[in-house]
Amino acid sequence: MANLVEIRDLRIGATTDAGRRVEIIKGVSFDIAPGEIVALIGESGSGKTTIALSLMGYAREGCRIEGGSVVVAGKDMVRLTERQRAAVRGTEVAYVPQSAAAAFNPAMRIIDQVVEVSRIHGLMPDDKARLRAVELFRALSLPNPDTIGERYPHQVSGGQLQRLSAAMALIGNPSLVIFDEPTTALDVTTQIEVLRAFKAVMRESRIAGVYVSHDLAVVAQIADRIVVLKGGEVQEVGSTAHILQAPSHPYTQALLAAFRPGGPPAGAAPAPLAQPVLELRDVVAGYGGLQSDGRPLVTIVKGVSLTLQPGRNLGVIGESGCGKSTLARAIAGILPAASGEILLQGKPLPSAAKDRTREQLRQVQIVFQSADTALNPAKCIADILGRPLAFYHGLKGAAAEARVDRLLDMVHLPRGLKHRRPPELSGGQKQRINLARALAADPQIILCDEITSALDTVVAAAIIDLLKELQRELGLCYVFISHDLPTVEAVCDQIAVMYAGEKIEQMSRDEVGARNHKAYTKLLFASVPKLDPHWLDSIENDPEVVAALSRR
């Protein structure tokens, strides 16, 4: 049978503002058979999205398709005119973007945006398109399929929106759908819902797909074949089972190795009588004015108590919206706790950051998830790292410069980076700078708020290794907040599970999976994708998990 897609020697390039020519895709070739799902996998900057977009004959601003051919259903997308390409997009090739929230127009009802595709191409009358949309909503197992389209994008959850954007892609009956990291921004339990829905729909209607991702475990569930990319070149192509079991290329092996982070640093035996570094007693935090009962209008964290022993790490795990980030903000004093006590080395800490002394502020540093917004894009790295040195330690001039160099060494970045600005660095480099800024204060406790969630697997594994190494050298404590169980397990000695603002369970690392967990904890643990291609199907057979999922 003829291939649906044939990419031959594709070359895409760009010209930088200094007039230098850069090759982004360096001669890539692969095929997709009808009904086959091919995954493009690789780290950020490997060109996977660029290739996926070229299937629609599109090159991003500043890029140009310079050679080769992209034949989709007998048409070479590179040679078509823009008008001919527009006719193909949405009817033969459709696209599901990474961030559905950014892809929907917030001022239009969802159904109107979904049927827009059929209206633009004149595929079917509007009322017929609406019926088809509702059918798709049902196939994607969305709740209330008949009425959900009448809502606005902000009235549905992130996972639902991602499935709705798939419905938008499928309404034109395409023969090829491009998924551009559709679950990367979702937490594990939501990711499962979305993956299950995608897989069911794609299998049923025999649509070919390109699935772009950096997460090998997710890809293993949905793809028939995997194309591993690095630096704009194909490293390895093979069936999913082959890639997972017998990877031949070193980069693929590194990807697989990154998926199994090692255990936490072997610390000394805990001294049970040591005074806790940080202690939380019944902390309540939220937004809005205080009500008559002393609680905030919207209570996010509902009476959480935790202790952190010296030299130990505490993991806080839970889905988005469970209050784990709010807890970190309450500890840092950014969002003052409404009631409860926070004790730093046995001494009570004022709840608001502005009431704390500079010394108290120095001891507790917070590192945010998104290094893109946590680093000032207009300042160079030396200034960003130099400020806490000047602010807390009064270091200036040559002394500060030497310390900045040492900090860069500590996080394994070249010293030459200090004259650059954050937008010029890669995601992993930015996260290292983000961490170095916290280290500059010379703190006791670092609050890590989802610091690896936005990074791809290999880079995240390197950051985790760095955290462990720094702990060995500097004797830090981490409060590690994440929705990703394997990373938390890799770093932390104690793991607390949060759900709806409450700590529902706390266990030591050895107890994970070894005792009878609460139902939610079980769901959370079961939701972590495994490298086994049959994992998603096995979930379907676990009645307890399916029941928990269908309640959501």
Partner: protein, 280 residues
């Protein structure tokens, strides 16, 4: 964006042709403002021609005005009023407006409300009328003109800067700075300002043009710079009766105003850019 005719400058900067031409024009007018007395062939009030509204000639390259004074000299000597007063006023207006705007965004709460309502109230007074009343009441002098123009244009600048700063204020790096214990002056100056500098410059350019035009308008009404000195607006007014004859005396001050204001805007739109890719 593709840069047409990019011209490299020292220190890893480059500028395009339009920006270069605009900055040359501005540089030229600045030099004229500084060295006008050396350049002008005749004195400001000196009547040198027996005829009025004289044509362009070798002796009077831009003709003569309604009293037979040399137009070239009057335009050259008027430059310092137009450029100087406008520059001082725009500097004052934007400095106050941008500083207050950022402070309001960062401080929030009552400070923000009080400042915003006060400046909104100021904004509701029609600018030309306000200028007329102040100048009529206090009398026209250069400091009064500068202050009046600055007060008129501060609220707009404040609104603009506040709107930009509110967006930057929600970013995580501001939260990090607050968690570190930084005060308002540091957050304003080091964290917010570098991120809004581009739009603020564009706003300064636009406001400069408005001020030149308002100053010219006030002078046209006789409330600006007083005779025998004259800024460009005043030159247009004095010689407006030459318009039916197509006298150069009314054309050239208008051309001067147009060339300055258009150049400032073109420069702001085509500011030199730093080359980010330095691996070549």
């Amino acid at each position: 964006m593709t840069m047409v005719g990019a011209i490299p400058l020292p220190f890893h900067f480059r500028i395009n042709l339009v920006g270069l031409l605009a900055s040359c024009t501005i540089l030229l007018w600045t030099l004229v403002a500084l060295f006008a007395p050396l350049l002008a062939p005749h004195g400001i009030g000196e009547i040198v021609d027996s005829d009025y509204f004289g044509p362009m000639s070798a002796q009077f390259p831009l003709g003569t005005d309604y009293l037979g004074r040399d137009m070239l000299s009057r335009i050259l000597l008027g430059t310092r009023y137009t450029v100087g007063i406008s520059l001082a006023a725009v500097g004052l207006a934007c400095f106050t407006g941008v500083t207050l705007g950022m402070a309001a965004a960062v401080a929030g709460g009552w400070t923000d409300t009080v400042l915003s309502r006060f400046l909104d109230a100021l904004n509701s007074i029609p600018s030309k009328l306000f200028g007329l009343v102040v100048v009529a009441g206090v009398g026209s002098s250069i400091p009064v003109l500068i202050m009046t123009l600055a007060v008129i244009y501060t609220p707009g600048s404040y609104r603009f800067a506040r709107a930009l700063a509110v967006n930057v204020n929600t970013m995580d790096f501001i939260t990090v700075a607050r968690a570190r214990g930084e005060g308002v002056p540091y957050i304003i100056g080091s964290e917010i300002l570098p991120n809004i500098l581009g739009p603020v410059f564009a706003d300064v350019g636009l406001r400069f043009v408005f001020i030149v035009l308002l100053l010219s308008g006030l002078s046209f009404l006789g409330l600006g710079v007083q005779p025998p000195n004259a800024d460009w607006g005043a030159l247009v007014r004095e010689n407006i009766s030459g318009l039916p004859f197509g006298a150069p005396a009314v054309m050239f001050p208008s051309v001067a105003i147009a060339s300055l204001t258009i150049s400032v805007n073109l420069l702001i739109d085509n500011l030199p850019r730093k080359i980010r890719d330095r691996s070549a």
